[in-house]
């Protein structure tokens, strides 16, 4: 569905992507992780055609992003921005959700039904007449995801979705990601919040200085003791715990960690 072939990109003299390649299958949940400034957001912007590579190519649904119109791609690849305030501007929650639908040429009946659907699905119905910027941080984030989901893109990209979110909102976000995945959507998450990703255990690409360091399920790549440090990240606590006592397999959650430690102590 997505094919990234050896892409390079720079903002003027500042080289950001340095030869990145990977493929994403339909329905996959992919995490792109790296420290601030590693190139995550720049990479995401290549997948919906906002940015074009200086070298190499990006193909989405078999179309080269260099030759396809952004409007055509953005209908099928939705991007939820890191900062909700950069995305929200309408005077009410309902207007915010219907804005893109009107631009994409949906009929009045379709707009009403899609808006109602996402208002219910994302728990926003009670806020439908409120100005978006009056919502709390967690509510704004849900609204941003809802506005994108309203036009039902096949690929959903979430750029740093956990920034500024409390534990309750993060739990909700995990549920949303799981639901999108169950609905067959392809989900791409850029983040440095590895603790957030741990329970999801997605396929994870670690990037540093615009290059891919490793690619695999989060738990499997965490067995490599140095990969997170090389990307200037901190290993998730359960991974660090497992490697600290020499376990071959990191625990999926706290309960499993407790059992594994008990076994280790007996041995």
């Amino acid at each position: 569905m997505i094919e990234v072939n050896d892409i390079y990109f720079s903002y003027d003299d500042y080289q950001v992507l340095n030869g990145i390649s990977f493929k994403v299958k339909t329905g996959e949940v992919l995490a792109v992780v790296g420290s601030n400034g590693s190139g995550k957001t720049t990479l995401l912007k290549h997948l919906n055609g906002i940015l074009k590579p200086k070298r190499g190519s990006v193909k989405v649904f078999g179309m080269d992003t260099g030759s396809v119109k952004i409007s055509e791609l953005s209908r099928r690849v939705g991007l939820v921005m890191q900062n909700s305030d950069h995305q929200l501007f309408a005077s009410s929650v309902t207007d915010e959700i219907s804005f893109a639908l009107r631009n994409f040429g949906f009929s009045k009946i379709e707009i009403d039904s899609h808006v109602r659907e996402v208002l219910d699905e994302f728990g926003l119905y009670e806020f439908r007449n409120r100005p978006p910027l009056s919502l709390s941080g967690g509510e704004k984030k849900r609204l941003c995801i809802a506005t994108v989901m309203a036009w039902q893109p096949e690929i959903v990209m979430l750029d740093e979705p956990t920034v500024g979110q409390d534990a309750v909102n993060k739990k909700n976000l995990r549920k949303i990601i799981n639901r999108l995945s169950q609905d067959g959507k392809t989900v791409i998450i850029s983040t440095h919040d590895l603790e957030f990703l741990w329970p999801i255990n997605p396929r994870t690409i670690v990037i540093s200085h615009g290059k891919v360091l490793t690619d695999g399920s989060l738990r499997s790549i965490s067995l490599n003791g140095t990969v997170f440090a090389s990307a200037n990240l901190i290993a998730p606590q359960l991974a660090a715990l497992a490697s600290g006592i020499g376990l071959n397999e990191p625990p999926a959650d706290e309960a499993q960690a407790v059992e594994m430690i008990k076994q280790w102590q007996k041995a």
């Binding site: 601030n36 941080g137 920034v163 534990a167 440095h192 919040d193 600290g244």
Partner: protein, 285 residues
């Protein structure tokens, strides 16, 4: 050569900040943002303030730096005392030399062209003499190792560097208390930790107290003496860090770091605050 920019603060017996029966309604709101909040923080300690979004953390911080009620109007009852003095009897210049407020997003706090100019801004506003201002800026630049970016334009800095510069802009005013509102939420964990470690260094070396809001508890536990939990505008818990971690923080929407949950299940006592220390303890057995 290391220049000691502050003498180690000699704290009086009075709390560095004491909040008494504080209730606050923002204008036009029928729901209290703060409801009968009471707590005191002893000089030289760090308080980790936690709770879900909208629980009143930011309003409380604004009250401690005087923005509530001086800039955010509303119905205000109770009092905030800084070293025993009521904040309503202090003007903003006096408050800003006692308590420094670091925002979540440094772009909201930095507005001069270069790092050096930004550090001078607060001092100029307070009318500090030029020679004294230069001395203080030199000290802080040395303390936080900002020499390499001293002349740089702000827009060329990384997010982490910007946050350190914003903190430096507060430290030149020589506060006794720092109030940090999610200072690391835009930063990756390693950069976040470097900010947290600066707060620790300021506490250890100079006795500067801090109140810090941080959702990623695992980053801040090691430097925190106390944890205070808020919900619905009121204080639900105030305890020493290790004691607080034994309570059901999840009931207030606060995620306990995995290494703490694991130790609680294994009945470990005392709790180790980091994975490294816990692993060390496991091996020691």
């Amino acid at each position: 050569m290391f220049i000691n920019p502050f003498k180690k603060i000699k704290h009086s017996k009075l709390d560095v900040v004491e909040v008494k029966n504080l209730t606050f309604y923002y204008s036009g709101s029928s729901r209290p943002a703060l409801e009968n909040v009471n707590f005191g923080l002893a000089g030289g300690s760090v308080l980790l303030l936690v709770g879900v979004s909208g629980c009143g953390k930011t309003t409380l911080l604004r009250s401690i730096v005087g923005l509530v009620p001086k800039f955010y109007a509303g119905k205000y009852e109770g009092s905030v005392l800084l070293n025993g003095k009521n904040i309503n009897e202090m003007d903003m210049p006096e408050i800003s030399q006692y308590v420094g407020y670091l925002f979540q997003n440094p772009d909201n706090q930095l507005f001069s062209y270069t790092v050096e100019r930004d550090l001078a801004f607060g001092l100029e506003n307070l009318g500090v003499e030029k020679s004294e201002a230069i001395k203080r800026i030199d000290e802080i630049i040395q303390l936080l190792s900002l020499d390499g970016i001293r002349k740089k334009p702000i827009y060329e800095l990384s997010d982490g560097q910007k946050q350190v510069v914003a903190l430096a802009g507060i430290l030149v005013l020589r506060p006794k208390l720092l109030v940090l509102d999610e200072p690391t939420s835009l930063l990756d964990p390693r950069t976040a930790l470097s900010i947290i470690n600066i707060v620790k260094m300021l506490k250890d070396k100079f006795g500067i107290s801090a109140i810090i809001v941080e959702h990623r508890l695992e980053l801040a536990l090691e430097i925190s003496d106390y944890i205070m939990v808020m919900a619905g505008g009121s204080v639900k818990m105030f305890d020493s860090t290790r004691q607080a971690l034994r309570n059901r923080l999840q009931d207030y929407g606060v995620a306990v770091p995995p290494v703490i949950s694991v130790q609680r299940e294994l009945m470990c006592d005392p709790l180790e605050l980091t994975v490294k220390d816990f692993v060390g303890r496991l091996h020691a057995r």
